[in-house]
């Protein structure tokens, strides 16, 4: 064999050796293998810390690079699945948990996460199977409470049925410091066109009055799934509040709503109508009717954004109050953010709107019709939060602020009305079994107006016992 032939064979052998690929490549040096192992262990620790500190997206990105090499290792797959689930990839999470459970069907922690992932995918039947299997494995109390909440939520949306009903009855007792949202200022200076400024004394029914009350309420809602994307809903509520002595302010509220919902992946859209009738002291007081639309997008399991709009008509029954009839348009945007471990949520939205006064009644104060104070522009913010306390109690608090500016100069007060409204509420819902709950609530509202008869403060302390039927 000559040198030329030898060279050809050597080259051929070299190329063949190269083409054998990494599978047949020489094993990495022991030092390199040790370094690789250390890097992998560090990555696992870092990913675990990232998940626990609420950064699952970063944990998933970190682990994804190790999937080809380490898929099939229970600890890796469990962590990868959790990172995927918490960062909004329940489909990929189920693949990781499938691997864990194929190898170790007794890993109840992974089964619980698998059930959560199925729930996120909307696969309620499989979620129910896995949650029930976890429940039978005697999980720790915290996990047991979580499983119970999921199973209740699944039962409420029974996936075997297309039509779902829910109803409730409730009884409330409470103390209301201002039954008619009235000012506590007894005298105001009023400009009477033919007389000039006079001191007027507000009548008793227009002054702040406190009273105890009792109330009953009932309501129901049904939804019908048309297909996996579309559903129809309708509901109604009836609430009665009776005061102990201020019976002119006993209120009966009847409200109804209906609409359609569309859901696909992370998007939800809702179009609806709603209306209500309000009776005060046994007499019809006002009605309202509205059309509304809402679009929500879940950006990640931690964040959801919302846009909404509403057109509403308010009509008063009493002829004297019909000058206050108005139409209103409001549009807003909101955001919901889950904190840390998902047991707490913060929400908020901002809105802007306008009201048109539409009355045609002519009075000395409204020679051209409309409201005494005219049209209105309004804007506001609302924020709130809630957190699970233990397995059965939800604590919540919320606050709102709204500014309203009217268009006309009020002839009796010679100012253009401007209001600043704030309200605060906090409470708890203690659900000691799936059907019964007890809810104490403290709410306070305050309106500051440059027209003193519209300034008021109100505090309401209540306790509500509720029975749900699903």
């Amino acid at each position: 064999m000559g040198r030329g032939e030898t060279a050809v064979l050597v080259m051929t052998a070299w190329v063949l050796g190269c083409s054998a690929g990494p599978a047949q490549a020489a094993a990495p040096a022991p030092q390199a293998a040790a370094a690789e192992k250390e890097a992998y262990q560090n990555a696992l620790q870092d990913a675990d810390a990232l998940v626990k500190s609420g950064e699952p997206e970063r944990a998933y990105a970190l682990l994804r690079g190790y999937e080809q090499a380490h898929a099939g290792e229970a600890r890796f797959d469990y962590l990868l699945g959790i990172a995927a689930l918490d960062s909004g990839k329940p489909d990929l999470a189920t693949l990781a948990f499938e691997r864990v459970l194929m190898s170790d069907p007794g890993f109840t922690g992974a089964r619980l996460e698998m059930a959560r992932a199925y729930y996120q995918l909307g696969d309620l039947l499989r979620a129910e199977v896995e949650f029930e299997r976890v429940a039978h494995e005697n999980p720790p109390p915290g996990a047991r409470a979580t499983v119970r909440k999921y199973l209740e939520a699944i039962a409420a949306r029974n996936p075997r049925k297309k039509t779902h009903y829910a109803a409730y009855v409730e009884a409330t007792a409470g103390r209301d410091t201002n039954v008619n949202n009235s000012t506590s200022q007894q005298q105001v200076i009023v400009n009477i066109p033919t007389v000039g400024p006079v001191v007027a004394t507000l009548n008793a029914t227009s002054l702040k009055a406190a009273d105890n009350y009792g109330g009953l309420g009932a309501g129901g809602e049904l939804s019908h799934t048309l297909n996996p994307h579309w559903a129809f809903y309708a509901g109604a509520d009836l609430l009665q509040r009776d005061y102990h002595t201020q019976q002119d302010f006993n209120a009966l509220t009847a409200e109804g709503r209906a609409g359609v919902m569309y859901g696909a992946n992370a998007e939800h859209v809702r179009f609806g109508v709603n209306g209500g009738e309000y009776t005060l002291g046994g007499r019809r007081n006002r009605s309202n009717a509205a059309v509304n639309a809402e679009w929500a997008r879940t950006l990640s399991p931690r964040n959801q954004v919302l846009l909404f709009g509403q057109y509403q008509q308010y009509r008063f029954a009493d002829y004297v109050m019909q000058v206050d009839n108005f139409n209103q348009q409001v549009a807003g945007a909101g955001w919901t953010h889950a904190l840390g471990d998902g047991r707490s949520v913060l929400s908020g939205f901002a809105y802007y709107g306008a009201e048109q006064d539409i009355s045609t009644i002519i009075t000395t104060a409204t020679p051209d019709g409309g409201r005494t104070d005219g049209a209105k522009r309004l804007g506001g913010l609302r924020v709130g939060g809630q957190t699970m306390w233990g397995g059965r109690t939800m604590l919540y608090a919320n606050a709102g602020w709204q500014a309203g500016l009217y268009s006309r100069v009020n002839p009796l007060f010679l100012v253009q009305r401007s209001d600043r409204y704030v309200d605060l509420a906090m409470g708890a819902v203690w659900q000691w079994n799936p059907s019964w709950s007890l809810s104490p609530q403290l709410a306070h509202a305050h309106n500051s107006s440059n027209i003193p008869v519209y300034s008021y403060s109100r505090t309401d302390l209540s306790l509500t016992l509720r029975r749900d039927f699903r």
Binding site: E5, L9, T12, L16, S19, G21, A23, P56, Q68, A71, G72, D86, P90, D91, L95, F97, E98, G106, F107, R116, Q120, L121, D123, L125, E137, P140, G142, T146, Y150, P159, N180, V195, V198, L202, N203, S206, N227, H229, D248, N265, R286, D318, V320, T336, A338, G342, R343, L346, S347, F349, T372, R382, G384, G385, M388, Y396, G400, Q402, A425, I451
Partner: protein, 285 residues
């Protein structure tokens, strides 16, 4: 200079070509996970026992044993999770990184089943992705779906009728045969029997429950079990966070606000003694 013998040169060239071909022809996918006995039968009939990291090629028939499973990461980023007791063939897999209509992913499923999370193939050109079974053809519209073929005599045939079952987790599929087509949306299940048009049926958990039931725990306690997770926030009640009644369009006083004032009105004419009487007037705001 001595001549190189032509036969030797030809043999070397052939060896090089073969090696280059093997080196350059990218596999269709790579095995990411294997549990139990899983085989690939090449287009030429050669049988390979699949292990983690092995390549899967166009033309391979993948076979899983009872209680076996595998996950294969495809070159287009998609993923195939093979169920137990399955036989499927990767008829065609063409992907050079482009979504220009030349890409293709065609699978024949003879029995058993798999879950597929599609990758780039089929994202722009839906017709590029297809699964054929003895009783149906399944096309996709960007999807995560599961397909099971129950053949007579199989373990599943004892509980459900033979045919093709398709469940969608995300996206949409179209299940067709010569008798008709049905579109399948998330969490719906289609069934295609031989000689009948595909129909939607309630999800059958005898077919689509994936993880095996819990094994005997032998006193084991899980140290890793999360009480809560971010996704649990979906169970919270948004009305509580923001308040049940939005204070938009606040109605202040629910009854007319009224007040009274008193003025002294003169009584009497210019030529008589004039005096004043108080007159009370009610004003409504």
């Amino acid at each position: 200079m001595k001549k190189i013998r032509p036969k030797l040169l030809a043999a070397a060239c052939l060896a090089l070509l073969g090696a280059c071909g093997a080196a350059l022809a990218a596999p269709a996918g790579k095995v990411e996970y294997v549990a139990g006995a899983v085989q690939a039968i090449g287009a030429g009939g050669q049988v390979r026992i699949l292990a983690k990291g092995d390549a899967v090629d166009e033309g391979d028939t993948l076979v899983t044993g009872a209680d076996a499973a595998a996950q294969v990461r495809m070159e287009d980023g998609g993923l195939v999770a093979l169920r137990s007791d399955t036989r499927m063939k990767l008829d065609s897999f063409r992907f050079d990184g482009k979504q220009d209509g030349t890409e293709q992913y065609i699978v024949s499923l003879f029995k058993g089943g798999f879950r597929a999370i599609t990758g780039l193939i089929g994202r722009l050109h839906k017709e590029s992705y297809r699964i054929t079974t003895p009783t149906a053809t399944i096309g996709i519209r960007g999807t995560d779906h599961e397909t099971i073929v129950v053949v007579p005599g199989s373990r599943l045939a004892a509980t459900v009728p033979p045919g093709t079952y398709n469940k969608v987790n995300r996206g949409e599929t179209a299940v067709s045969n010569e008798h008709g087509t049905v579109l399948v949306l998330p969490n719906q299940m289609a069934y295609a029997a031989a000689g009948a048009a595909p129909v939607l049926q309630p999800l059958n958990l005898d077919i689509f429950v994936v993880p095996p039931p819990p094994a005997a725990r032998a006193g084991r306690t899980d140290t890793e079990m999360r009480d809560s997770a971010i996704v649990d926030s979906a169970l919270l009640d948004p009305d509580l966070a923001l308040g049940p009644n939005l204070p938009i369009g606040i109605i202040f006083s629910r009854t007319p606000i009224t007040a009274t004032y008193t003025t002294l009105v003169p009584v009497g004419g210019a030529f008589t003694n004039q005096f004043f009487v108080p007159v009370t007037t009610t004003v409504t705001f």
